[in-house]
Amino acid sequence: MRSEIEISEKQPSAEVVLRLRGITKVFGSLVANDDISLELKSGEVLALLGENGAGKTTLMNIIFGHYVADSGSIEVFGSSIQQGSPHVAIELGIGMVHQHFTLADNLSVLDNVMLGTEPLWSLYSNRRAGRQKLEQLGERFGLQVNPNERVAELSIGERQRVEILKALYRNAQILILDEPTAVLTPQETETFFETLKKLVSGGLSLIFISHKMQEVLAISDRVAVLRDGRLVSELKTAGASETELAQAMVGRNIELPERKALKAGEPVLKLKSVTVRAEDGRSALSSLSLDIRAREIVGIAGVSGNGQTTVADLISGLVEPQSGTLELHGEVVNNFTPRNMLRKKVGRIPEDRHSQGVIGDMTLAENIVSESYQEPQFSSYGWQNHLNRQRFAENVVSKFDVRGYSANSPVRLLSGGNMQKLILGRVLSGNPQLILANQPGRGLDVGAVAYVHEQLLAARANGAAILLISEDLEELLKISDRIAVIHRGRLSESFPRESISIAQLGLLMTGQQKTPTTNNQSTEADAS
């Protein structure tokens, strides 16, 4: 069937493998996709760029059959498909790597891959053949994973490989990758791009969803930009510029915040050879020392899982050190509870907004006062003061530009960026003297990241000490005054931002180098 179409086309290589016509999808009052028409040609990488909530994932979910479009049609290899069934999509050669991986942690890699590939009622599952096919695919595309390993034991990068293998195992010709790099470290991202190149040379056509412009420019052939559910721009990647794309994506000019030199003040946080045992799935910290002064942002770089979470938990009061001391304003902290840390003016922006930052089913207002509801202005004699809470919440919502919903809507309806703004508002309205910002820009679009950085820099100018934990080196280099690297629970000394490069940080992150050499320090620093 496909070959017939190829013959009729003038250029066989430019065969259209997927065609969307006028796709529209409405959720309640939100128009997620508004009359989108799009084509994917054979062997190309089409990047779908857009801010959070622009409708990228919705569109892809419609193609893959998770949703049914309210209107519009989809053609795969020239024949239109019945929507609303992943089964049909898979049969036609569409594979999807979901942003939140669809893997069962307690089952093996092979189980996850083979699920649904055999007739449901066969009395026997040919696991040997399955394992062989999986290993061959892994070899061919450089996606080696142990088929017998439980998914729970795999790293994030390996899990993503399993997601891709799942699609390849079903002979996918069109692969949709939904924000594949959002969860990857810089190193993993590089390997991942190699994989994508192998997939394309292996004959696949890819749709790559992202909101990171550098990645889009690096990997795609063509870019389609979505904004507010509409397709606003479609252009060839060659010749496109970052600013051009950013403008199309956001629809306005974004001013990137700038870090101004400030004189750091008194030390706010002092960690003296703090050791924490590995427990409850946390990695250990060994003899960690760090000072952060007022009006200073100290960044901690590192590959995920090297102890960052433990540092964050320590400063949030969720874990107690086995030895060493933590001082705030020269006072040793003995009582490691979240409440005590709050009382000592520590503000926390947690790594995982959904599970640690907010309570999804409670309202914006309730979430805004969730750290301060015991204060006299919000409660007295055991009664809540709704009026004050409401007033305060509305003030935070408007001041921190939380958009889309009223103070009485449940928080889970907010997009990632707006949720982060709400958390920022909660933290900053408490005037914290130490702010723990754990991956504050993760999963946010350009505009929201710029806003978060701007607010953190403003807090710094107001005298706060900020600990920024991030896996995004560009983020660290953009706003930190000093950067230290964590590797296997050990923290390097901290280096002034001006004297360290991405390359040096990369080496430290893999534990290869103790201190950066001083001879080539100026090159990278000047570049930004």
Binding site: F27, N61, F64, H66, Y67, V68, S85, P86, H87, V88, A89, I90, E91, M96, H98, H100, T102, L103, A104, D105, N106, L107, D111, N112, M114, L115, G116, T117, E118, P119, L120, W121, S122, L123, Y124, S125, K166
Partner: protein, 317 residues
Amino acid sequence: METSFAWLEIFLNASFWVAAVRIATPLIFGTLGEVICERAGVLNLGIEGIMTFGAMAGWMAVYQGAGLWTGLLFAAACGGTFGLLHAMLTVPLGLSQHVTGIGITLLATSLSSYVYRLILPEVNSPPRIQAFEPLEIPGLSSIPLIGEALFKQTPLTYFAFISVIVVAYVLYRTPVGLAVQMVGENPAAAEAQGLNVTLIRTGAVVCGSAFMAVGGAFLTMSAFNAFFFNMINGRGWICIALVVFASWRPGKALLGALLFAAFDAYQMRLQQLLGAEIPYQIFLMMPYVLSILALIVMSRRVGYPQALMIPYRKGER
């Protein structure tokens, strides 16, 4: 000195082992059924009622003239029907599995009594039926202790052991078993692989409930030969605990059921031995206390099905 070792001599008596295996049989069926439901992500607290109804239905069918195996099949079908009701409410409608399950138990238990009274309005003591007879396996049954315990039972006990093997095989070695595991672990993943989550969950609950009903039917068709009110007497709830004890594995479910049954058989014999000195309620309590202790030890590190009790709604954001 003579009496001081009597509590040990119980273990040398073949009748103890025979009783243990017999007591274990309904628990094996019930636990197996619950494992199937929970592996698919649906807690089925209807088990107590479904076992009761199974006990009544199988027995009543035979009393009305049906063959023993037909009666058993009828009991299984009744169980499956209650399972279908439970699944309809909890899977596509996504209602609370706790509340629905308790509702099913109350409904099925009351319906059992109602149907019983409807068909036999003027009977004082429930009539007995010609039940399953013990079936000796030639050769194997002459092995001391084990032979008598394992190979001189009624066909339903053999059926229970075979069911464990079949369920384990299906769960771990066939595509449909993998699908059941997957909808209990991550329904979104199952759907992304093109499977129908609602259908698989419903099927698993129906099948699991049929097993529960067979467990109940064992009591009336193979043990007591008549139906009494309250005869399930918490066995369903024990199965719920045994599932956790077994970490949702059919093989360990068999082990757990046998262990619990052995405690139960043992305490009955201890009662006879020491009943004069110690109130018998202490002994009645023993298996339950031990099962709580075993749960504390065993369930600390179990990996329960991750989507257990979480309704799945397609296309929800």
